[in-house]
């Protein structure tokens, strides 16, 4: 019996769907499979991308601020008789000296004030030679403020022996360098630079960045230690920045350059090929979603076209009773929306089940998950909304046809 809180259109729409049970069941299953594929694919690919990006960006900042490059100015010899300047024929590119970002503290404060920015960390970096006995290796020294820098690259999580604490005489080195030099935590190393500066540092931690080259070359010392070693008293060679939205890093970088005049390179620019691969994957995912959505829409539309034909006599009778064209239109739009909604609820369940099975059975050789995947409520909400809206949109043409049926013709059949 009719409930007093259910509108006329809902009552008729639900009854029509219930009457054609088998037809309704088939299209709901069809929509559910489509939505399930979209949910599963989206979660899988976003998990995969997040994993890629996490791996790439866990060892680097999103934006690097660098001092401006030194450029050679063309020779000018003043105006000639024709009042035109004459330039020198040869311009040699200058050597890029290690130099500090001008007024870096002020620049850092300015960037920290930007809402998109999460962390700003100064780094004084340069090349050096590490010597132990007769062995020596070329290294890259990064002078950091651990409190800030560890929020960008979590060195503590990558320490395999010792710890990440850095005082003026401490040093962190990679596993490969430790092996090459035969050192362990507590051993001392002598570090020299091209300018002749020499300092002896104690290895307090050995890290593994997950990259052999990085483990051979990268070392970390306290900021003021690097400043004195590299001849940059009080200066920094770069500011490392992280932002809230990793995909918006390039826009933020451009804003930083515009605001401060300091050259800013985002990870999108420096890892252009990787970003292009991620973008291509996103595009492919979007294309798959679009075509699955399209097939869902056509499925709903085709079923509703059949329903309109099947129900044309009932539509004519309803019209004869005084039911308006608008009410008939809404009855069929609702059917489309309800098919989309119920299909998407079932599809979300199918997608979730597939994700659970994937997490359970798709594992690395050591038994750990291939990559972590999260059940994002936003994904399910979007799937529900999109499928319902698709159902409504797909139902529009059949609904319009139903509303415009001539009642006399419809009743006659």
């Amino acid at each position: 019996m009719f409930k007093p809180w259910i509108p006329f259109e809902w009552i008729v729409a639900i009854r029509f769907l219930r009457e054609g049970r088998l037809q309704t069941l088939f299209i709901v299953v069809g929509v559910a499979i489509g939505v399930g594929v979209i949910v599963f694919m989206s979660a899988l690919l976003s998990g995969l991308q997040a994993n890629f990006i996490r791996r790439v960006l866990s060892a680097q900042a999103h934006i690097h601020l660098l001092p401006p490059k030194e450029v050679a100015r063309a020779l000018r010899r003043g105006a000639d008789a024709g009042n035109r300047e004459v330039e020198g024929a040869i311009v040699q590119p200058p050597l890029q000296r290690l130099k500090s970002i001008d007024q870096w503290q002020a620049v850092a404060e300015q960037i920290r004030a930007m809402p998109e920015v999460t962390v700003v960390s100064p780094v004084a970096g340069g090349s050096a030679l590490v010597v132990r006995g007769s062995a020596s290796r070329a290294i890259s020294v990064a002078g950091i403020e651990p409190d800030q820098y560890y929020r960008i690259v979590d060195i503590n999580a990558k320490i395999v022996r010792g710890n990440g604490r850095l005082t003026a005489t401490d040093m962190l080195i990679g596993t490969e360098l430790a092996d090459d030099l035969g050192v362990d935590v507590g051993d001392k190393l002598r570090v020299t630079t091209a300018s002749g500066a020499i300092i002896t540092l104690t290895v307090v931690g050995i890290f593994d960045l997950g990259n052999k080259g990085a483990n051979q070359r990268s070392t970390f010392v306290a900021l003021h230690t690097a400043q004195s070693l590299l001849g940059l008293p009080g200066g920094v060679t770069s500011l490392e920045v992280t932002v809230r939205d990793v995909y918006g890093a390039e826009v933020v970088a451009q804003r930083i350059t515009a605001a401060t005049g300091v050259e800013a390179d985002s990870w999108i620019k420096t890892s252009a090929q990787f970003f292009a691969a991620v973008s291509a994957q996103t595009t492919a995912n979007t294309a798959i979603r679009f075509f699955v959505g399209l097939s869902v829409a056509f499925g709903i539309a085709s079923v509703l076209v059949v329903v309109v034909v099947q129900k044309s006599r009932e539509i004519g009778i309803l019209r004869a009773m005084g039911v308006s064209q608008g009410q008939i239109l809404r009855v069929f739009l609702l059917q489309g929306g309800l098919l989309g909604l119920s299909g998407s609820v079932a599809g979300s369940a199918i997608g979730s089940l597939a994700l659970l099975l994937w997490q359970r059975y798709a594992r690395n050789a050591d038994g750990t998950p291939l990559f972590p995947m999260t059940f994002d409520p936003a994904l399910f909400t979007a799937a529900l909304l999109l499928a319902t809206l698709t159902g409504l949109a797909a139902a529009f043409a059949p609904a319009l046809r139903a509303a415009r049926l001539d009642p006399v013709v419809a009743i006659r059949g």
Binding site: M1, F2, K3, P4, W5, I6, P7, F8, I11, R15, F16, R18, E19, R313, E314, G316, I317, L318, R319, A320, M321, G322, V323, S324, Q325, Q327, P407, V408, I411
Partner: protein, 243 residues
């Protein structure tokens, strides 16, 4: 006859001075207008129906009886002529106004009953009231139950329409036609597919409502015996009406 609650959402039609419910003047109806196969079905019908009249319409198949009924019932528009229903000239009204006028004041009984099979007998009777009001109510249910009782189907009121016999379905269709307490009921061969006993029952029902409620009825039939029991008979032959 059981007391029946008033129809919710029904428009009260003010009594006309002349008590003319429907008036047709020179009504013509042609199909496929402007094409080589243009066919005129009604050739200028003049007809008046007064309040409380029970009028039979007879005529051979294809003579235009159903077309006449569709025009009077505002389901179709005449090609020419004027149609005044409850004092309102309808040929200039838009679809929305016609639908409203039809829904609140005209009830239909079709030859093949045309109940909606997804609903029970009681729900079918409630349907015109539900369509007009938008939401169901207790008063609606009471009125529908009263009408179902009047057509003697209380025991079957919760059965799906498709599970009733032909005679029962037609009686439900009569109850549904009366749901909005219409001033005019149009019955297009409602007894055509029924056996003699069921046909008598359906006719008696319509006649009783006509006499008790003052409902005007236009009753299309091929049965001369039933036509003889009406107040007047109109013959429609070759698209022309004659008394």
């Amino acid at each position: 006859m059981a007391d029946v609650a008033p129809a919710s959402g029904a428009v009260t039609v003010p009594p006309l001075a002349s008590a003319v419910v429907v008036q047709l003047r020179g009504v013509r109806k042609a199909f496929n207008v402007g094409t080589p196969i243009e066919t005129e079905v009604l050739h200028g019908i003049d007809l008046s129906l007064h309040k409380g009249e029970f009028c039979a319409v007879m005529g051979p198949s294809g003579s235009g009886k159903s077309t006449l009924l569709n025009i009077v019932g505002l389901l179709d528009r005449p090609t020419a002529g004027t149609l005044t229903v409850f004092g309102e000239e309808t040929t200039t009204l838009d679809d929305r106004a016609l639908t409203r006028l039809r829904g609140h004041n005209i009830g239909f009984v079709f030859q093949n009953h045309h109940l909606i099979t997804a609903f029970s007998a009681l729900e079918n009777v409630m349907m015109p009231m539900l369509g007009a009001a938008g939401f169901a109510s207790k008063a609606m249910r009471q009125r529908a139950a009263g009408l179902i009782e009047n057509v003697g189907l209380t025991a079957w009121q919760n059965n799906l329409a498709g599970n009733l016999s032909g005679g029962q379905q037609q009686r439900v269709a009569v109850a549904r036609a009366l749901a909005m307490n219409p001033a005019l009921v149009l019955a297009d061969e409602p007894t055509g597919n029924l056996d003699t006993r069921s046909a008598d029952e359906v006719f008696a029902l319509l006649r009783r409502f006509n006499q008790e409620q003052g409902t005007t009825v236009l009753f299309v039939t091929h049965n001369p015996a039933l036509a003889a029991r009406c107040d007047k008979t109109i013959q429609v032959i070759d698209g022309l009406a004659s008394k």
